[in-house]
């Protein structure tokens, strides 16, 4: 799950000090926001559709066991093979074993977050199998030795100049081949086409699995997904166990909101429905289809207070909407899943232990909740995780003491007023025309960039109390 060995503060520092990243994030996210809002505004009954999509997710998760059984039976009935993976390592080893068994030296992959989650590329490399990312953004990320910084736009943080330089340096592209985005895309396509023909195994994620038919739905904009799932001899589809919808009708509802929320498109350029491997009368398609169902913490989350996070359909709308994400970018989160959704999903799936900062990486402004097509209440879940951190003793001592004292005073109004007066007097010592420019301890973080206003000499409630005394001595 972890994408960087650096501690959170260092990652944030790095991001904030990177002007190219800052600019690209600001431009990329604001474009994503505008496109989403326009697409949603043009969709009749958008709010009702989002409610419907949310209910479908709630319903599916409430009966996930039944739908999983249905789905597995349907996949098998169509000739597919189903594998269950309890952990990330197990999932990676299942896929690796299939690739090795097929004597594949090369595996082509279409964009998938769950394969990032299970660390598939590293596992394949370790077994001597080369994995090639075929989504253009993922291809660039792999070449740069990085992780995606956005769940639908993996290289949002990079400039086209950076990508061009990478193509020149790593792939020997000529200056003409990287002169603009179109040229770079054509160049990458030439490089990738050859690999598609060489690969014995294609690996994909799954956007939705349809329980009633065993259909796998994959959406892409580049057509690479379709090549990965149809050209190689074997197709391995990796999916989180929560990615089901009951029926094809339900799938329709999800597709109505997914692309609009992700990129502002009414529908992605390619919507692939894969039902079983190639049949006798099919013109093409793989000889074998494997579906790897990944749990990796999901069934535990399903039974917990955080279950709602499994509603997520990975559209990335909450990333584009978030003023923290658009300021620091995805890598600062240090997790495969960045942004508001990642700040919940990461500690939910992986345990809060190594991830206590993430639930605090939010001002709780609520923009993510407003953007989410399935109405996930991310701020509520962030607050829950903060509570769990406190309950596990993870709150700093100064804060614990301060809040305990605050609560003890807040229920004793007279003492509270006295304390406010005293605090004002103490602060006034260090003030100049009503403001303090340097606070001590943890509060120094405030005065690093902001003056701190001094409390008033007399508070309103003290004033009101004086009036009362005057009126009735």
């Amino acid at each position: 799950m972890r994408t960087s060995p650096l501690p959170f503060v260092r990652r944030v520092e790095q991001a904030l000090a990177d002007p190219v990243l800052r600019r690209n994030m600001a431009v990329g996210t604001s474009r994503q926001r505008t496109h989403r809002l326009e697409a949603m505004a043009a969709l009749p009954g958008a709010d009702a559709l989002r409610n419907h999509a949310s209910r479908i997710r709630a319903h599916t998760l409430a009966r996930l066991d039944e739908y999983l059984e249905q789905f597995v039976a349907a996949v098998r009935a169509r000739g597919g093979t189903v594998h269950w993976a309890a952990t990330a390592a197990e999932a990676a080893s299942i896929v690796t074993t299939i690739a090795v068994g097929e004597r594949a030296r090369l595996v082509v992959k279409s964009k998938s977050m769950v394969t990032e989650e299970i660390g598939l590329n590293a596992a394949l490399e370790a077994a001597g199998v080369t994995a090639i990312e075929t989504d253009l953004g993922e291809f660039v990320i792999q070449l740069a030795g990085q992780h995606p910084s956005h769940i639908v736009a993996p290289i949002m943080h990079m400039s086209k100049e950076q990508v061009g330089a990478l193509f020149v340096e790593r792939l020997g592209a000529t200056p003409e081949e990287v002169v603009d985005v179109a040229a770079m895309t054509a160049f990458a396509r030439r490089v990738l086409r050859e690999r598609f023909l060489e690969a014995a195994v294609g690996v994909s994620g799954v956007n939705f699995g349809v329980a009633s038919t065993g259909t796998l739905c994959l959406v892409t904009n580049e057509g690479n997904g379709r090549l990965c799932t149809s050209l190689p001899r074997v197709h391995v589809a990796v999916m989180g166990i929560e990615r089901l919808v009951p029926t094809l009708d339900d799938l329709g509802v999800m597709l109505d909101v997914l692309a609009r929320s992700a990129t502002g498109q009414a529908l992605t350029v390619y919507t692939n429905l894969v039902t079983g491997p190639r049949r006798e009368d099919d013109a093409d398609g793989p000889e074998a289809l494997h579906v790897v169902l990944v749990d990796n913490g999901r069934s535990r989350v399903l039974g917990s207070e955080l279950a709602e996070i499994l509603y997520c359909i990975r559209c990335g709308a909450c990333l584009g909407a978030c003023p923290v994400y658009d300021t620091v970018g995805g890598h600062a989160y240090g997790s495969v899943y960045p942004g508001p959704v990642g700040a919940v999903a990461t500690p939910a799936l992986d345990g809060l232990g190594p991830w206590t900062e993430l639930p605090h990486a939010s001002s709780l402004c609520g923009a993510c909740r407003d953007a989410c097509p399935v109405r996930l209440d991310i701020p509520r879940l962030l607050l829950l995780l903060r509570r769990q951190t406190v309950e596990a003793g993870g709150s700093p001592v100064w804060l614990r003491l301060a809040l305990r004292a605050h609560a003890a005073l807040a229920v004793r109004p007279r003492l509270y007023r006295l304390a406010v007066r005293l605090a004002g007097r103490v602060l006034a010592v260090g003030a100049r025309d009503g403001y303090i420019e340097r606070l001590p301890g943890p509060l120094a973080a405030w005065t690093a960039s902001r003056s701190f206003r001094l409390p008033a000499r007399r508070t309103f409630l003290d004033e009101v109390a004086r009036e009362r005394r005057k009126v009735s001595p």
Binding site: V324, A407, L409, V411, A445, S449
Partner: protein, 252 residues
């Protein structure tokens, strides 16, 4: 006007929850809130036992402390049946959306909290939606722009109401603000715990405010005001921050 109430339903009396930040940092805004309500013909009760809504503790994940403060709030305001009005969208959001869940293990108080949640309003929301008066503002001198504070906007749907009042007060002198619904980076503890991110968010907000060219940016929350004002002062800006109550009281 669709929410205008019949004369008998129009409240004659309100309880003012001044909020801890307005009380301590902006007492003049508290006086303004009171005067505005009185000018609108209301009797304003100020329960003397009031302190805070408990938001700092809740946002930090300290639910036990938040619950204690919430219980005190309920005990202070619930006995009087008059509506509660506060010059803060975020404290009202706390009462309306967090109290009932926070107090579930205390059934008597939870019931009182639900009752309070149904009659607690932010100032501009109360004026426009409950009193049905979207002409309560008087024209003011300086040019204005409006920043939509997050919890009011996304928690309470507070938007049309303050904008109507600001529009009326500023007239032709209201300037548009780029990304006016974008968080200023305050977020309570966030401003300290995530200081560098919070500062970067504030910079983007303040640049937009300065670009608007307005003399005054109007907000509905003292917390955002403390934050933006602290930043504007640090950059020696001429732009001021005012609370909507100050605008309604013609003191900007």
């Amino acid at each position: 006007m669709m929410l205008a109430m019949s004369p008998t339903a129009r409240p004659r009396r309100v309880q003012l929850f001044v909020t801890c930040l307005v009380d301590a940092f902006y007492p003049e805004t508290a006086h303004a809130t009171r005067r505005v309500l009185e000018r609108l013909g209301l009797e304003v009760a100020i329960p003397p036992g009031q302190t805070c809504c408990g938001q700092p503790a809740l946002n930090a994940g300290h639910h036990d402390e938040a619950r204690r403060v919430a219980a005190h709030f309920v005990d202070t305001f619930a006995p009087d049946p008059a509506p509660v009005v506060a010059p803060s969208g975020s404290c009202v959001d706390m009462v309306v959306h967090q109290f009932p869940a926070l107090l579930t293990n205390d059934p008597a108080r939870a019931a009182a909290a639900r009752d309070l949640a149904a009659r607690t309003y932010e100032l501009s929301q109360f004026i426009v939606d409950v009193l049905g008066d979207d002409e309560a503002a008087v024209p003011v001198e300086p040019s204005l722009t409006y920043h939509a504070c997050c919890h009011g906007l996304r928690g309470l749907g507070l938007d049309r109401q303050p904008r109507a009042l600001v529009g009326q007060a500023g007239g032709a002198n209201v300037r548009p603000l780029d990304e006016d619904d974008r968080c200023c980076g305050f977020g309570g503890l966030f401003a300290v715990k995530m200081g560098p991110i919070s500062s970067a968010m504030l910079d983007r907000k303040l640049e937009a405010i300065e670009r608007s060219g307005a003399d005054v940016v109007v907000v509905t929350d003292a917390s955002c005001r403390l934050h933006m004002e602290g930043g504007l002062r640090r950059r020696a800006s001429r732009t001021r921050v005012a609370h909507i109550a100050d605008v309604l009281d013609d003191r900007v």
